[in-house]
């Protein structure tokens, strides 16, 4: 295994593009090192991205959004008060990943690129309308977060391409987001179902919404029908029931020991309702 420490993303992309064997990018390493240890993936070339300038930064962008470096660990995300105030759903999703120790290393970018349908930080990013800056050997492009996962453990990134930043849009006024997951324990588990809701209000009325579901399909899903169920409403009981029905209808989960198809489908609706209520109260100014 060759260990590389490029100083730019372009160099990293060129190393990857020129490699003939198995290549892995190293950010937090909480998935890569486990796969290495298990012998599941032993890279020929391991490209450590943490020597690239800016990878630990959380910076305000010109349009009022945020640019989050690819090596920012969960614990730094959680400690960033301005980001947490604007995007509490994104931050709480990441904070559910692993233990305190894992939070010291694990990153949003790694959680996304690992390609797990149950990744806790991804529904929040999808609901937020986040995108990623992708650097390849031939240049950069911007891709919506929901277009990155292409199946369990797979992404749409081409050989040589890597994510060089996470981009959150400007939050704007009267808006809130939330992420909830179901696990049978209280901590340290993988989502059986996850749901994120981001919405904006005009007075009491929802004017914009995005709903994303995790662990109920081969990839984290954006569910436009669930968002449509609450837009134009004041999140009354009828709207919440329609939201739950639309979320459940979007599920195509697996049946396994952690949750049956029927259970995951029902819980998706329940979590969508609860997350929407939290997002709504946050949009009203609730800081919890």
């Amino acid at each position: 295994m060759r260990y590389h420490t490029p100083s730019t993303f372009r160099d990293a992309a060129q190393i990857a593009a020129g490699a003939s064997g198995v290549t892995r990018f190293l950010a937090g390493g909480t998935d890569v090192l486990v796969q290495l240890r298990a012998g599941a993936v032993i890279p020929d070339d391991l490209i450590d991205l943490k020597k690239i300038a800016g990878v630990y930064d959380i910076a305000r962008t010109g349009d009022g959004g945020w640019r989050i470096g690819i090596a920012v660990p969960g614990i730094a995300l959680g400690a960033h008060e301005a980001l947490r105030a604007e995007w509490p759903g994104v931050v709480e999703g990441m904070e559910l990943v692993g233990s305190t120790q894992v939070q010291g290393r694990a990153t949003l970018t790694g959680n996304l690129c690992n390609g797990s349908p149950a990744a806790d930080s991804v529904p929040g990013l999808v609901a937020a309308g986040a995108s990623v800056e992708v650097t390849g050997p031939d240049g950069q492009r911007t891709v919506a977060v929901q277009d990155i996962p292409s199946g369990p453990g797979k992404t749409s990134l081409k050989p040589g391409e890597l994510i060089s930043a996470i981009l959150l849009p400007a939050r704007g006024d009267h808006a809130g987001d939330a992420y909830l997951r179901f696990i049978p324990r209280s901590e340290m588990d993988i989502a059986v179902v996850g749901c994120a809701v981001s919405l904006r209000l005009d007075g009491d009325t929802v004017t914009e919404a995005r709903v994303a579901l995790g662990a109920v399909a081969p990839v984290v899903k954006l569910v436009p029908a669930a968002a449509q169920a609450i837009v134009g409403t004041a999140l009354d009981d009828a709207a919440l029931d329609k939201l739950a029905a639309a979320a459940s209808a979007a599920c195509a989960p697996i049946d396994d020991k952690r949750g049956t198809i029927a259970f995951r489908t029902e819980v998706a609706g329940v979590l969508a309702k609860r997350a929407a209520k939290i997002a709504y109260s946050r949009a009203k100014g609730d800081r919890a």
Binding site: M1, D48, T100, Q101
Partner: protein
Amino acid sequence: MSKIHVTTVVNGDAVEFLADPRETLLDCLRDRLGLTGSKEGCGTGDCGACSVRLDGTLVCSCLVLGVEAEGKQIETIEGMADGATLHPLQRKFIEHAALQCGFCTPGILVAAKALLERNPDPTEEEVRFWLAGNLCRCTGYDKIIRAVLDAAAEMRQEAA
């Protein structure tokens, strides 16, 4: 496979070692530097027995490559006592009998110290969540939590 020369600081002492790039920081601490206080329970970041601080951040040393330690500051369990004087957490673990086999203890002590530096007055719930990534198969956790809370009280100079 060529080894990489790594210069780092462990518990305040400058050290250097040669690491195969596949070796974890835990491997390097134990096998290259002889610091066997950090334990390998799972090797996959689940058990916390290998907890160390990397530039102040609590991490599993099994999820860090040895070569990533270059230029960093590392704190391990070996740096916790001041000579023969135990850290209050170490003393309270003995007083409360907060260990049986002891395999998880170094990681829990390192993790608990990180917590108390960040939050000198944690609730029981905060201690339990902070230490959720430190698995103990002997004690059932109760004595561990009591020892941490008691040490916190002593460090705040309050009687528990």
